[in-house]
């Protein structure tokens, strides 16, 4: 049941993320990007979360208890840092665009089309 809820959550987050990314409002698009990244991070966690129910301490491993995979957690920590960096860069660019073009509507940010 938990697995199903988890899968559902990933799917819904992915859907919301893609929807937001395609919005005309650039700030909403940036936030959609962050949501999309969270969905994929959750998918990564799900790859190792349901193997065992004990934390991967040495004592648990030696006692032969089924432990969860610690590697995915290390990986998504890195992925979160990367996503944070790109998210702040997107927001920074949107910030300068909002000043220079006086709008965040992507329909009006079309000076390249000339």
């Amino acid at each position: 049941m938990v697995e199903f809820m988890f899968a559902l959550a990933i799917g819904i987050l992915f859907g919301i993320g893609v929807f937001q990314l395609l919005r005309r409002d650039l700030i909403k698009a940036a936030i959609g990007f962050a949501i999309l990244f969270s969905a994929i991070n959750l998918f990564f966690v799900a790859a190792g979360a349901f193997e065992g129910e004990f934390p991967p301490y040495l004592s648990n491993v030696q006692a032969g208890r089924p432990t969860s995979d610690p590697l995915v957690q290390a990986l998504i920590l890195t992925a979160i840092v990367v996503s944070f960096g790109s998210f702040s860069l997107v927001l920074g660019i949107v910030n300068i665009i909002s000043k220079r073009y006086d709008t965040v509507d992507s329909n009006d940010v079309t000076q390249l089309k000339h």
Partner: protein, 498 residues
């Protein structure tokens, strides 16, 4: 398995250089000097690595002493070392151009550090043996190039940067999704171990889906047909040395990833992927060449031309036999030199205009007032791109066409040969407009000093050498590379598995 410190050197030198450049942000000249010096040292490491790989076989470096398949391992096989060598060579030219460039954005304290971080990302992507590190390197490369384009002197740079980062992040997300799918089904991220497991014929549920997701991410990075629309804007508006890097080596990261997909990771699915790549490549050739013919801006023309040239490489991968793969790699190698040289030359031309631009309407006839050497260099570069002997473009076209003849795919072969004529047409058109026609009244005002053409001059010289003296060694080197690529066991055994 022994650690080879050259691998770490090639990766760490630009990183240390970036930090040093950031520390010495007070003096812009010091920063630029650090940039050139770092590029040179990284090149020495990459050249040594290439020599060692061909003498001693696959070289590895286990980061932090964690042995594969558990730790992150840097791997230089023949393909990775060759591409890393190409990247560091072009990077020196880019940093040299930066040294003498008059753009305002080069004086920003973050410019040189970001440039070097882009090199870290590029070299890292080519030398890593771990899928997750590949993701990190590609993201580093994307973030650095986006920042560099956003601060461009061109007022449209910001808009192009936003366009690219939103699209490219989508691609990176798909790359991460593919990597997660691989990890969920195979339990490893080491490329050698993934290849080993998939070679046994085992096909986990998510593996084909992961292959397609990785392919999409790589196609997006190389701006291939359905994902190409960001590329002309982004490559046109970037500062000159950056657009030279973007159009020559950054697009090659995707090509490198595709090579890895079809020759190492997904050999059984390779046939299907190659069919797809062949079709996409032909579309790229036709529309890229036609697009380049009708542009109004010299830099934009070269960006469209990159779209077409990547098509040639993909058609070579699509043919898939040994000769065609040799052709594709030689093509990728030569194209990097020609295209970066041409973009820098157009940058030099543009730097003489009152408001820096490469619009044909603004630069028409400008060349008649510039040193004649510039015109000859542009002409040589254009002829090389079109594949006229004795320049290196001819060698790559010849190798590719041999592969096509060997494959017997006559329909695509005709398109490839005909597109060479289109290339000649758009390059000669640009050359005539800039260097042959009478200047317009609007172009009578020029700046007295433009950018230095040392870097493009060196690159064109290398092109001439590659087409004549070094043609034979290059083709032999690439043939040896392809021989290693065709046998994935060499890579797997080199990492210490299998």
């Amino acid at each position: 398995m022994t650690d080879n410190a050259l691998l770490l050197g090639a990766l760490a030198t630009p990183l240390i250089g970036a930090i040093l450049a950031l520390v010495s942000a007070r003096s812009n000249q010091t920063q630029r000097a650090i940039g050139v010096a770092t590029g040179g040292i990284a090149w020495l490491f990459a050249a040594g690595l290439l020599a060692q790989v061909h003498e001693l076989g696959v070289q590895t470096y286990a980061l932090g002493g964690w042995q594969p398949p558990y730790g992150i391992v840097l791997v230089a096989d023949a393909l990775g070392a060759l591409f890393a060598f190409m990247v560091t060579t072009i990077m020196i030219a880019g940093l040299l151009y930066t040294y003498h460039c008059h753009d305002k954005c080069m004086t920003y304290p973050a410019f040189v550090p970001l440039f070097l971080l882009m090199e870290v990302g590029l070299v890292g992507a080519m030398l890593t043996g771990d899928l997750f590190t590949l993701f990190i390197s590609m993201e580093l490369m994307v973030l650095a190039s986006v920042s560099l384009t956003a601060i461009s002197d061109d007022q449209f740079g910001l808009e192009a940067a936003l366009k690219y980062i939103l699209i490219s992040s989508m691609g990176t997300l798909f790359l991460l999704l593919g990597i997660a799918a691989m990890y969920a089904t195979l339990g490893t991220l080491n490329m050698a171990q993934i290849a080993q497991t998939l070679l046994t014929g085992e096909r986990p549920f998510l593996a084909p889906a992961a292959a397609l997701m990785l392919l999409c991410a790589f196609l997006l990075k190389s701006a291939v047909f359905p994902f190409h629309f960001w590329q002309p804007d982004f490559h046109t508006t970037a500062p000159t040395p950056i657009s030279a890097m973007l159009s020559s080596i950054v697009v090659k990261v995707g090509v490198y990833g595709i090579f890895r997909l079809v020759t190492l990771l997904f050999i059984e699915e390779a046939f299907l992927l190659e069919r797809l790549l062949g079709v996409l490549g032909v579309i790229g050739i036709v529309f890229g060449s036609l697009g380049a013919l009708r542009t109004y801006n010299a830099k934009r023309m070269l960006a469209y031309s990159t779209f077409a040239q990547i098509g040639f490489i993909l058609v070579g991968i699509g043919w898939g036999n040994t000769l065609a793969l040799v052709g594709a790699i030689v093509y990728a190698f030569n194209h990097a030199f020609i295209k970066s040289a041409l973009l820098m030359l157009m940058g030099v031309v543009a730097s003489y205009t009152k408001i820096k631009t490469a619009d044909f309407a603004q630069v028409r006839g400008l060349g008649t007032k510039l040193p004649p050497l510039l015109g000859w260099l542009v002409l040589l570069g254009g002829l090389s791109l079109a594949g006229v002997p004795p320049l290196n473009g001819f060698i790559s076209k010849l190798a590719l066409i041999q592969g096509g003849v060997d494959n017997g795919d006559w329909a695509n072969l005709i398109i490839v040969v005909a597109a060479g004529i289109l290339t000649l047409m758009y390059m000669i058109r640009a050359w005539q407009q800039i260097f042959q026609q009478a200047p317009l009244p609007s172009t009578t005002e020029t700046k007295p000093v433009g950018d230095s053409m040392v870097a493009p001059f060196l690159l064109i010289t290398i092109c001439l050498l590659l087409g004549t003296v070094f043609a034979e060694p290059l083709v032999q080197l690439v043939s040896e590379t392809v021989r290693q690529m065709m046998n994935p066991q060499i890579y797997i055994a080199g990492v210490g598995l299998g």
